[in-house]
Amino acid sequence: MACIEARGLRKAYGTTMALDGVDLRVEEGRILGLIGPNGAGKTTALNAILGLTPYQGELRVLGRDPWSERERLMRDVSFIADVAVLPRWIRVSQALDYVSGVHPRFDRAKAEGFLEKTSIRRESKVRELSKGMVTQLHLALVMAIDARLLVLDEPTLGLDILFRKQFYDSLLNDYYDSNRTIVVATHQVDEIEHVLTDLIFIDRGRIVFNRSMEEVESRYLEVLVHPEKLAAARALKPIHERQGFGRSILLYEAADRQQMAALGEVHTPSISDLFVAVMGNQTGHTPGVTR
């Protein structure tokens, strides 16, 4: 059974299509990165998956309809929607009490274990904690829930780089296993690059790119072209070209690695470069693309 399955998912706010016919299938055990510019529909898509917003089209999460079965679904799904949604008045001990009171799959000892490693005190109120500590607390609560799907929407926004690194490290080391699925939406693309198994780009309510990371690695390559071979390289139809280190960097899809090695230095593009290339083509910035 797929963890998330969507067909023709639509959601309009007035005349704006936040989701414009999204087809999506996420298998169990994947870590999916959902990347897109502001207003692309990432949060709307996640809200639909979490049963926070009604939608048109077909959507099943763990075999359930999230809108009509949110309460039931939340036994198996947890999420951190945005940073700083923990109520500011709540004490750390109260948050632990409440979640263990209402959640059948919450392991309080595990959450306490995570908190031991931080400087968060039980009697502190959330408003007294730093932004990083609030995220640590939320993560401790969420990781102690034995969920099958974890959804993270910009979970590290506004945190310093140490916290951000720690966040993904503990997610991978202490939480993730092959029975769990994780969906992350973020702008900080490069930080989650090594974490992901799958990658989706979303733009104006549509999925414009959907590949596993293995495919990304085998299918896309970037060439730091020798200046004298630039014309030859351009003739091979790169999907994107940019300047860097005083050289032209060309990005190819489904190109022959041997052939490319003759043109210059070859490596796998970073997600952000790939994103810029794909999005550039989408929005029609590249010459020759007609819309």
């Binding site: 994947r30 999916l32 036994r75 951190i80 709540i90 109260q94 409440y98 590949r211 293995e214 495919e215």
Partner: protein
């Protein structure tokens, strides 16, 4: 997704044998209510503070008690009684007023606040239904506050009685005549009857309306709750020069009492003849309760749809 090749043909066994984890509904309700006490501490702090302040004032006034009691013995029993129970009525009225104020402010705030501070996204990430949350919140003005206020009123009056007795005994005056005038249990039960009938059952649409506006309004919930009814009153006055709507609304705050007591008896007087049967037979009461039910059902729906403000 394009990941078929990477996925095991069979789903992992563990996911199929997960025990159906269940938490009884009563436990959900309990924690939803606990949350309200953590979040809105004025629910119990406000009546306690009012009671404590009143007790301090009463303690100071006790200096005059022996003098008053001596002067009273010359008066007729009816007059005697009125003077003695005056502070007790005052304590009851104060606590009732506190309950109404706290209930009004709580109701207009509660569902909007969780959207304003975005914490609704945290609450909704847990397996607690919208109806559990809304009903827990509604139970604060409908059940918790009235019962709590009456209990605090009872304890306050009991302390007043003990303090007075100590002062009277200290000055060699008979305590018995004083005790005979203060009918603590009867008075408290009357207060409870009055609060539940007039300020809970009859006023229910007021709190229901406030909870609904709180669930709906993105900001300025108080204005949204108050301005539309006021506008209707003003419009009616302008167009027809009548005030039926205002009178109709006033009914929910002060009205409905005609069915409660036999005519001519004062609500808080222990000699009041209660007529709960007539009260329960009032059509307006049941219509009001039906409207309240509809308001709450709408509030549940709104909480389901509305994201953070």
């Amino acid at each position: 997704m394009n990941t078929q090749t990477n996925v095991l043909p069979d789903p992992p066994l563990e996911s199929q044998v997960r025990a159906p984890a269940l938490i009884p509904a009563a436990q959900h309700a309990y924690w939803a209510l606990r949350r309200e006490f953590w979040e809105s501490r004025s629910i119990y702090l406000a009546p306690l503070a009012v009671a404590a302040l009143f007790l301090v004032g009463f303690l100071v006034s006790l200096i005059h008690l022996p003098h008053v009691m001596r002067a009273l013995s010359a008066l007729d029993p009816g007059k005697q009684r009125d003077t003695i129970i005056e502070p007790y009525d005052m304590a009851a009225s104060l606590l009732m007023g506190t309950f109404i104020l706290v209930a009004l402010f709580y109701s207009i705030e509660t569902l909007q606040r969780e959207r304003r501070d975005r914490s609704i996204l945290f609450w909704k990430s847990l397996p607690v239904s919208d109806s559990t949350t809304v009903l827990a919140k509604a139970s604060i003005p409908f059940v918790v506050l009235p019962l709590l206020s009456c209990a605090i009123a009872f304890v306050t009056e009991f302390i007043m009685l003990l303090l007075s007795s100590a002062v009277l005994a200290g000055s060699g005056l008979p305590v018995r005549t004083y005790w005979e005038q203060v009918s603590l249990f009867q008075g408290s039960l009357l207060l409870l009857y009055h609060v539940i009938t007039v300020h809970v059952l009859w006023s229910a649409p007021v709190y229901g309306w406030l909870l609904l506006v709180s669930a709906w309004a993105r900001r300025a919930a108080f204005l949204w709750a108050v301005l539309p009814p006021l506008a209707i009153c003003a419009l009616e006055k302008l167009l027809f020069n009548t005030a039926h709507f205002g009178a109709f609304l006033g009914h929910f705050f002060m009205g409905g009492t005609e069915g409660l007591y036999a005519p001519g008896t004062f609500p808080m007087d222990p000699a009041t003849h209660l007529t709960p049967g007539r009260f329960l037979a009032t059509l307006g009461l049941w219509m009001g309760l039906a409207v309240t039910g509809a308001f709450l059902a709408l509030a549940v729906r709104l909480r389901r749809c509305r994201g953070p403000a």
